[in-house]
Amino acid sequence: MSIWEKLMSIPREVIMALVFIAILIPALNPLGLPLMVGSMSQAWYDTVDNMPAGSIVLFDIGYGSGGYPSLGPGNIAAFHQMFENDLRIVMMATDLEGSMMYPLIMAGVKPESNYGAVYGEDYVFLGYIAGTQTAMAGVLGDLHALASADYQGTSLSSLPLAAEVGGAEDFDIVAYMTTAGGTAEGWVYQAYSQYDRPILGGCLSMMTTSIKPYYDSGQMLGLMDGIKGAADLEFLTGHAGDAIISSDILSFTQTLVLIFILIGNVAFWMQKGGGK
């Protein structure tokens, strides 16, 4: 077997072991590699920054444990900015696991101690609502007809913020973070198309190709694409966290993948050309 043939068929175990090392080095010793803030994350940040204090955000936690490493850090950074700007947040979950993500996010944001926010007045969590687009339509149509209590069973009428919102017209903006393509597009259909509500979206990097056209057309005002977008938000909000560390990991691993792709191609062409 020639050297080129060997380079064309590097064992899976070797590649995976090197990827593991490329993950491990920046994870154990964050390097703070440079970062260029993307235009979509910048648009998200600017949109929130320009909202007047007291504005109400409907925020969908549309992901579970699988999506948390990518979207959780961005979600925390987004909430930091919203609480800093005195926005009020009505949260819901279209993902069954979303209600389990809520305490993790709140543990990272600490709205009471960091911003003096009060549950019920400044933020409310409705819990998981089944039905995805039906749930979106229900919340935007008539929230109180759909849900009578928050995720802990407290009556919505006893929570000032929840009592204040009835439907789409009471939300100044709709924001979501999700791992599901149906949820990401569903909010555009339900909130933008039907009620003309501005939208901010967050999704996995692999979903960007299918969601970005809605951003390009102006139907979405900002888009946080995966861990890179999350790192951008952490950088912009000044709350460095897991995403910026992951950004170093991304630089390491993707550079390694690029090297492997190039090695495979050089070896392929050399072998095809009869090189030994």
């Binding site: 999506g67 039907q194 993707q254 690029l258």
Partner: protein, 210 residues
């Protein structure tokens, strides 16, 4: 007249018409009626989750009782965890908002879910190395595009050479968005046709029997 077929078709037609009217008109009575229907939909879909749990018990309970498959113990583990989560959720009276439920979720399910998703990184790295080979013209186009997108998505490259970010944005803009819009418009037209056919009873596949 076949009532098993015609009654569901009539319900579909009625609900569909109310949904369409709610979108295009502002009659309060229509809005109120559709609000009730939407709430029914949410309840029905929540009920379907319970039905899913019952089905899990039926399928995996059978595997455990027969023990003919090599992996029957995984079915047993699944049922054990299912019972554990339900008992803890109901036992505390606070369901998934209880500390105990959150603890077992964070200790058991959360790491597994994150690991499953994260393990993709290893397979994608190996897959990219094996598949992205410029064997012919079409593959070369894919190879060049993929390499440029990977470079544009790798934080350190655009931060050092902003031109890579602009190239990625250009690929995502005119090329990807243009193509994807074409696909979505096609899907949208198809969905409208399917919706109309379903509404008037020409499409009955969703009933599962015809």
């Amino acid at each position: 007249m076949d009532y098993r077929r015609d009654i569901p078709l009539a319900i579909t037609f009625l609900v569909g018409i109310i949904a369409v009217l709610d979108y295009y008109t502002t009659f309060e009575s229509v809005t109120n009626t559709f609000t009730v229907i939407k709430n029914w939909g949410v309840v029905l879909q929540a009920f379907a989750l319970g039905l899913g749990a019952v089905n899990l018990f039926r399928v995996h309970g059978k595997r455990v009782s027969e023990r003919t498959r090599e992996d029957w113990m995984f079915s047993g583990w699944l049922l054990l965890m299912l019972v554990l989560f339900v008992v803890v959720g109901l036992g505390t009276g606070q369901y998934d908002a209880s500390t105990q439920y959150a603890w077992i979720y964070n200790a058991l399910y959360m790491p597994l879910g994150a690991t499953m998703y994260s393990s993709l990184a290893f397979y994608m790295a190996y897959g990219s190395y094996k598949v992205l080979r410029a064997r012919n013209f079409e593959a070369a186009l894919l190879f060049i595009t993929a390499v440029l997108v990977i470079i544009g998505n790798t934080p350190i490259f655009p931060a050092t050479f902003p031109v890579f970010f602009n190239i990625r944005e250009w690929i995502f803009g005119p090329i990807v968005s243009g193509a994807y819009r074409g696909i979505r418009i096609g899907v949208g037209i198809g969905a409208v046709v399917l919706g109309i056919k379903t509404l008037v009873g020409l499409e009955t596949g969703y009933l599962g029997r015809w």
